[in-house]
Symmetry: C2
Subunit: 218 residues, 2 copies
């Protein structure tokens, strides 16, 4: 299929070796961050924080979190252009949603007199909250929606990336406790440019299950 969308998604692959000399431009990074911010989420909940690691000092902090495990991902920290930590709110509350509604009022999307009515959508949070107040399965899913949007954005920009569930969530949580502010992460995304001569994962063809095994058309 020759459509540009299919070309973009076919060319995307999980980079295994980055070229440390190539950095994402400030203009492209601005597009990426704005695309992340514009990601859709259930009831516009936006139950996420994105930590964008750019400086050498922050990269060193991220590098340190690979002390105990997933060392196969550690080289990406220093060779990729940026690392983005995707974090979700494990206990999304009415106060969190009030911030969304208040921003909607500030953006002239919602009328001030409709504020109470706007809380009606919070029923979706209640449906997805465990007895202990845990909303993780729901907020994590929203955050992966943002990840899918971000990865498509990167494919369009011809920027390479490596999604990494192979991070030490405990150590990342401790190292970036201040920035995470109670949010938790299960995944980070390294972005940058492939080392075209030394990345073994460029050549192997992409593989996906057959259409008939994943799509039922009725």
């Amino acid at each position: 299929m020759t459509h540009q969308i299919i070309q973009d998604l076919s060319n995307r692959y999980t980079t295994k070796k980055f070229d440390a000399s190539k950095k994402v431009s400030p203009d492209d990074l601005a597009v990426i961050m704005e695309a992340m911010r514009l990601s859709a989420s259930s009831i516009n909940s936006q139950p996420w924080k994105f930590i964008v690691i750019e400086s050498d000092a922050a990269k060193q902090r991220m590098h340190n979190t690979f002390a105990n495990k997933f060392q196969f991902n550690q080289p990406h920290v220093m060779t990729a252009s940026h690392i983005i930590i995707f974090a979700h709110n494990p206990a999304y509350t009415r106060a969190n949603y009030e911030a969304v509604i208040d921003k909607g009022i500030a953006d002239l999307r919602t009328k001030p007199e409709d504020k109470e009515a706007a809380f009606g959508a919070f029923a979706f949070v209640e449906l997805n909250t465990g007895e202990d107040g845990d909303t993780s399965a729901w907020t994590k899913a929203q955050t992966y929606l943002a990840l899918g949007n971000t990865m498509h954005t990167l494919a369009r920009l011809n920027i390479d990336s490596t999604p990494m569930e192979g991070i030490d969530t405990d150590l990342v949580g401790k190292e970036f406790a201040v920035e995470l502010d109670g949010y938790v992460t299960d995944v980070a995304l390294a972005i940058g440019y492939r080392d075209a001569e030394n990345d073994y994962n460029i050549t192997p063809p992409k593989s996906r299950l057959a259409m008939a095994d994943v799509i039922v058309k009725l």
Copy 2:
């Protein structure tokens, strides 16, 4: 920001009223389905099924599932062009991953003699499996990654959509039990074209939390 990516994501919105006379073309639908199939997932697990509802008979079945709740979404079933059910595997097993590896061998991505080594990545599933074999939080997240990719694809194609967590998961599960084949769903996506004169949600400006509230740049 005038970048095409930002324009596409800014123009996307949750459609509240579809024009029943406008249908997604077969060519566009083929791009959408292939884009869905190409979605990335952890260890290429692809723990999903996508049920694409196109025929009047299938729409009637979906329509019936709104008998008890979320009736505000029911009109979309008959007025949107297609409804896509996003379902995840609640108990992803080694046999599921073997199908992925075998397809990798068939696609000449993985050498047959490397099959056992390829199972090494299955450790990520074990990390995300509860004592009862439940992998839902992990597989649901992957499926939302595909949803994010799909919604970005639709934005590029200027096709409107409505993501719906407001579906009766019990009734959908029963009505489509054969097609779901043990998979479960928390979300469906209506796609089609807006009723430009009667959709109240076209005019209000998009609202998102401020950059500083969702992104920390280090």
